[in-house]
Symmetry: C2
Subunit: 200 residues, 2 copies
DNA sequence: CTCTAGTGGAGCATGACTGTTCCATTAGAG
DNA sequence: CTCTAATGGAACAGTCATGCTCCACTAGAG
């Protein structure tokens, strides 16, 4: 690789990275947008959406699988950072869960990608072991201990419900023209009621 | 059509229908099974799963779109009949909703088909106007009037939550090896809590 | 049994997407 | 300005699902 020689110069790296990183980002963003709506979209569609030529896309991701792998990593990272922003270990469990739901909701298309591309989830490192997953499980167990979350709902089911309710919320905006604010409101309200510990 | 001539004879019709209906059913069932798991499966895959040749499949459904249309009609009919079995207009709204959820849950792969094939929903006659939809909306409005369902949740949102929770339940069994009984239990419990009218 | 509807396999043409190469052009660092 | 990395377009071969035709075979009605 002649590139390694050039990379001896620091400033050259940065500049190179800057341009390449920008293009790479554009392609990944376009992939998220396009694939979240039509999971079988062609690479040409992604390239168009990214505003780059198909040739360029192939330079960054030689095969479709390479793009999906990168997408998977990217999505996972974004979900994890969203989970981290929610500070899942702070305050009462129901509040923390609500913060987490809010942060996930903000992910938008990234969220929908996870649903429309199941094969994207079943690969790579996030075999139910991502940081976000772990944080959520910790959170639910804490809620059980606190007595603030329904003990009849195990962590994994809470996780399922969280994600499916988020899906419902986004579908609600997409198909019924409901505002994002209203959808999030319904989503949070519903989730709170589901996980709440029964008074009796 | 020479077939019209033959159809003058009643018994001939029945016999013809019997064989053809059986094959048609097998293809549709296979399509439900296959497409619910891999939405982009080829027609060859469907034919294999149905135990028929690809040629035969093409005889019944000349184009892929024809199969999907028939599938859409079939799925809609099954959902409607499930909704009817649930007797949505009988008894307290929360109970009726639970019956509806149970009946839908039993649909199994048919259910998952609706999620993995969004284009299947957006076509044909069920433009949010299927009998099942109408029954559900009636049910929720009745619950609002009764004071047994949360008035803050409009019918369409309840519908979204119902379906997404069913999805969550089936995913729960598929990915985490949870028994159908346990999944349904969690599903019903969660749904009840969501839609319950707040005491205050 | 006979005869036909129903079926399945082989084969073919088509179109779409993919992965690749080559070349001309452009943006940007120095 | 100069020069290189980066890009975009055109073209090509390979693969796969599709839609279709033809023909041989079989089950089942009569």
């Amino acid at each position: 690789m002649s590139k390694l020689c050039v990379m001896a110069d620091r400033s050259t790296i940065d500049v190179e990275s800057r341009a390449r990183a920008r293009t790479r980002r554009a392609i990944l963003d376009a992939a998220i947008t396009v694939l979240s709506q039509h999971s079988t979209a062609s690479l040409g569609d992604v390239a168009d959406a990214a505003g780059v030529g198909r040739t360029t896309l192939h330079r960054y991701f030689p095969e479709r699988a390479d793009l999906l792998t990168a997408l998977s990593t990217d999505v996972l990272a974004r979900i994890d950072s969203a989970a981290e922003r929610a500070q899942p270990d702070r305050g009462p469990a129901p509040d923390a869960l609500e913060r987490m739901c809010q942060e996930f909701f903000e992910l938008g298309d990234i969220l929908m990608c996870v649903f429309s591309q199941p094969e994207l989830v079943n690969t790579t490192a996030w075999e139910e072991c991502s940081e976000a997953d772990k944080a959520l499980i910790r959170l639910v167990e804490r809620g059980h201990a606190e007595g603030t979350l329904d003990p009849a709902l195990d962590p994994i089911w809470v996780q399922q419900v969280l994600w499916s309710t988020l899906y419902a919320a986004w579908q609600h905006t997409r198909e019924h023209g409901v505002s994002k604010h209203r959808a999030l409101d319904l989503c949070l309200r519903s989730l709170r009621k589901v996980v709440a510990a029964v008074p009796g």
